[in-house]
Symmetry: C2
Subunit: 317 residues, 2 copies
Amino acid sequence: MTFGECFETKCSSASFPVCVGLDPRLDEIPTVTSERALAASSSREDAVRNAIARFHELVISAVADLVPAVKLQLAFYEQYGIAGLLALRDTIAAAKRADLLVIADGKRNDIPSTAEAYARAFLGRASVFGESVPAFDADALTVNPYLGWDSLVPFAETAQQHDKGFFVLLHTSNPSSRDLQEAVVDDQPVYLRVAGPVSALEEEFFPEGRFSSAGAIVGCTFPAAAAAIRRALPRSPIVVVGYGAQAGNLSGCAACFSDADDGAIVNASRSLTYAWPEQPGSEDDVVATIRANTERMGSDLVAALMSRQGVAEPLSR
Amino acid sequence: MTFGECFETKCSSASFPVCVGLDPRLDEIPTVTSERALAASSSREDAVRNAIARFHELVISAVADLVPAVKLQLAFYEQYGIAGLLALRDTIAAAKRADLLVIADGKRNDIPSTAEAYARAFLGRASVFGESVPAFDADALTVNPYLGWDSLVPFAETAQQHDKGFFVLLHTSNPSSRDLQEAVVDDQPVYLRVAGPVSALEEEFFPEGRFSSAGAIVGCTFPAAAAAIRRALPRSPIVVVGYGAQAGNLSGCAACFSDADDGAIVNASRSLTYAWPEQPGSEDDVVATIRANTERMGSDLVAALMSRQGVAEPLSR
């Protein structure tokens, strides 16, 4: 099954079109989990790995039957060195066991011969003393387009070969994403220019199915851009980012969905996994709070999608 | 000492302005080294780590008294998973023991709060159970500007705090770098637009000294662009990339240097570390060949810099 088909299947069977962001921040992991890891580990490195892996097991158990996907923010793992990357590997395995789509959010890219190595690292396999061995083996990777269209090709090739996907950064959620992504070139903003090669790769590598395996990252903080990207790439899975970063972005989220209310998942990280009314007293409390946070966000999203159905002119589309 | 000062000192005492690129490719590591690693290791993961770390020790011993810096291509380490990243940590330590500048070529970036985590991972320290702990601790990191100018600030802040540096991708060496980097916005190509915030960060964070700690990545395959970038950023250290990728790029390399023939280092990877006339019979042969390759490239570069001094109108400047 292609990534695009898998995306469609998992989204249609999930309760909410939410992607749960996993950003390890040791200082914010509940003490009930981090102290347990410290007590059970023989070294500081082990404690780091165990605290992160255990916390993410709790998150996954809280949300696995509600959502289709998790997005692992690689920067937050890398800041803890080898221990963090061992926890990354543990968490990818745990999310797969729970049947969640695993998106490695590394925003990687380089010239084509090096982009191939990134594709091998996260989506494919490397040749190791005559054997073909996976390294991190996520389902999809986020990819930066600054190096040009040829740099996207290795991800498409590897994704096609291994039934994986990739998400190209089109318009990110931060305020100064405008600096480059909204720069106008030949009457077209950069974020829409980048949709061109994504569409071409879809046609070449993933011509079948309702959704392709060549997706886009889109900030809900720029609703008009989101609507334009959805129009330009009707078959791309979209990961919507920036939810919760500022008020009033539900319309930006809704703009990323198809007219059939699918094709997108909305990511949130801190507001789901690190938002405690008070320090949780038990791991059951941790799970219950994360589940409640996710249900609340999911319900808000579903309501936003339903309310636009009543509008004679669909939102910005 | 700031990174900019360190860059100046190391470049002035090195024989050649060459940066040796370290891209682990297990299949191309000489069998004399890889077979030794396989025989001495108890697991495949150990053998991967040991083969890469040992090969890079040989490279470092071959060039440490000739060049100022090595550039470690993170994609090639990541493709081997945890074993590759352990070898990355080993190689960073070996390069530092040899007094080489260590540039982590990860082309990382994200929105500012996540860019902070990347800066901690490669240039700073993370908070780990109340202690401040480095993860990969390179001297400099390469950074992608697509996310906008605010995404560059965390690297400048962390570099200032820890005497590190960063190199922003301005114009890369691959043919389709043109797609986005040469797009013209308000009569200015994107690669020169990106020079604006780099210059602003230099003034704010690194106002002292001949060279700042905010550098640029520039492909020698686009000589006119290289010359324009050198003019726009007279105080930025430049890592020149793409050497050896196509004929006739010595003028592109020369264009990245100051009128005093400094301020830049030219990277080469495969042509130095994987170019054997025949399979080497001993590790001494490995070292000798890599040293000879580096001296040949260095001499070509020095000759190119000297020859432009005889020109009445300096090359493109």
